[in-house]
């Protein structure tokens, strides 16, 4: 039984890179020896060349670190404050009702539309990107946390009522831990959104970061560098997601 399981695990690991290899092969074959196609679509070997160049001159690491910093700070601020606001709304149905249209309004405004305002308020350096990452993540965290707080199993609330627990005790001992899974889900969603917020800020106006690197390279028709930037963004998102999944595993060990 154990050997069958490990066999299927090996097969699973072997199958993982297959779609990527298929894509790279098609890309390589489609652009091989064709200068015109390589100019428009670049090619795997050109992307690899650009990658080494950017690693050697330190540009990739520097720009990646800037984007990670902006996204992470925005993510932490947005998710934490969103979770606090969302969970606190459990305290008052009236406040939650009044807050609902405002949260919906904030959630429906495309972050692209807010970017010029935020940049003119916070300037073109790192703070405007953090603010955009914050705005991208805060509403998701509010909505998810509030849903989590409302989805607490009635039998737990009944128990707390029977044992004459205060509202604060019910909040601390039941609502908060019970909503944790919702907050963690918000965190997973917010990683991509925080990166998007930071990227949009860099895309519109910046002097550093992966967004800036991509915009500058696309202006010069340097598609290989654009691809390196995009791949770097994907890798950062995957790493941060893996980090949240680790945190989830640690915090939700009771559910395993």
């Amino acid at each position: 039984m154990k050997s069958a399981n490990s066999k299927s695990r090996v097969l699973e690991l072997a199958l993982y890179p297959l779609p990527l290899l298929a894509f790279l092969s098609c890309w390589y074959l489609a652009t091989y020896g064709n200068q015109e196609r390589q100019f428009i679509f670049s090619s795997p070997e050109k992307v690899l060349e650009a990658f080494w160049r950017l690693v050697k001159n330190g540009e990739l690491l520097q720009n990646s670190l800037i984007t990670i910093l902006e996204a992470l700070v925005g993510f932490v601020l947005g998710t934490t404050s969103g979770a606090i606001i969302g969970l606190s709304l459990w305290y008052s149905r009236l406040v939650a009702k009044i807050a609902k249209p405002y949260i919906t309004a904030l959630a429906t405004v495309p972050i692209f539309a807010l970017a010029p305002i935020v940049i003119s308020w916070f300037g073109i350096d790192i703070y405007s990107k953090i603010a955009l990452a914050f705005l991208s993540t805060v509403t998701v965290a509010i909505v998810q946390s509030y849903q989590g707080a409302r989805a607490v199993e009635p039998r737990f609330l009944r128990l707390m009522q029977v044992v004459a627990a205060s509202r604060w005790q019910t909040f601390r001992l039941v609502v908060m831990p019970s909503s944790l899974i919702w907050v963690l889900n918000a965190m997973k969603l917010n990683i991509g959104l925080a990166l998007l917020g930071a990227f949009i800020g860099e895309f519109i106006s910046a002097e550093q970061g992966l967004g800036y690197m991509i915009v500058k390279a696309s202006g010069l028709y340097d598609m290989a560098t654009v691809f390196v930037g995009v791949i770097a963004l994907i890798v950062i998102a995957l790493l941060l997601t893996a980090l949240v999944e680790r945190l989830e595993k640690h915090l939700m060990k009771w559910n395993q």
């Binding site: 029977v162 004459a164 001992l173 831990p177 019970s178 009771w254 559910n255």
Partner: protein
């Protein structure tokens, strides 16, 4: 003369003018007494427990609990209310998390005594509810309620989801507990056998009213299922319930 622990007088309940769920229910319960309430689904049994527990407010009538204790009521629900994110120990010490004035060491002592009483090992304490069987979870749930040292226990079909042998064992443990602690209990059940085995009195409820009352026995020992008294009481209650159910149909 023993005084009543619980006195319910003319209790009525409905949801905002809709049909009455409870109508003129009057009942008294004394210390050390197990009262079983039987009846078809929707007859108002759980509503009555929720009213006694203070989870609902009566439309009219009174509920008086004659107790000096801070936590007067323990409620054991049909499905356990153990918090899945807390270990069994943390679930059992919920009382300490809620009432900071309680002596945690003394609580831990009683927790160990209850574990022994309900035949649970100390290894159970480190586990999460998800790691326990249904019977073990229900026992832990019962102990969790007892940790608040309630004067009156309300039980809403607590043994219904268990297999027959676990149920028999838990019923016996429960009777022993009531006997030792002189606690009163109101048990809602669909099971006549259970009511006859563990109850001192059985009340038949129908259409939101208490229809009939049966005295079963005076002591808190489990009534032998093969005994003549058991068969006699079972037949009496069964006949009454059968006529009540056929009236509803």
């Amino acid at each position: 003369m023993s005084t009543n622990l619980l006195t319910i007088d003319g209790l009525c309940f409905d949801f905002a003018g809709e049909a009455k769920l409870l109508s003129q229910v009057s009942l008294t319960v004394q210390n050390g007494e197990i009262v079983c309430i039987l009846g078809a689904s929707g007859c108002g049994k759980t509503t009555l427990l929720n009213l006694i527990a203070g989870l609902l407010s009566p439309t009219s009538g009174t509920i008086a609990i004659n107790s000096q204790k801070q936590s007067k009521i323990g409620y054991i629900f049909q499905s356990d209310a153990l918090f899945p994110w807390r270990t069994v120990k943390d679930n059992l010490l919920l009382a300490a998390a809620i009432d900071k004035s309680l002596d945690k060491k003394a609580l831990e002592q009683s927790m160990l005594q209850y574990l022994a009483m309900f035949h649970l090992s100390e290894q159970t304490l480190a586990k999460y509810p998800k790691q326990l069987s249904g019977g073990m979870r229900q026992r832990v749930s019962i102990i969790q309620s007892l940790m608040f040292d309630p004067e009156l226990l309300l039980l809403d079909e607590p043994f219904s989801a268990l297999d027959y042998y676990t149920k028999l064992k838990l019923e016996d443990e429960f009777c022993q507990f009531v006997k030792v602690r002189n606690t009163a209990a109101i048990l809602v059940t669909h099971d006549i056998e259970e009511a006859v085995a563990i109850g001192n009195r059985a009340l038949i409820m129908s259409g939101g009213k208490l229809q009939k009352e049966y005295h079963i026995k005076s002591n808190n020992d489990l009534l032998e299922r093969g005994s003549t008294l058991f068969a006699e009481k079972y037949r009496e209650i069964w006949t009454e319930l059968k006529s009540v159910v056929s009236e509803i149909r």
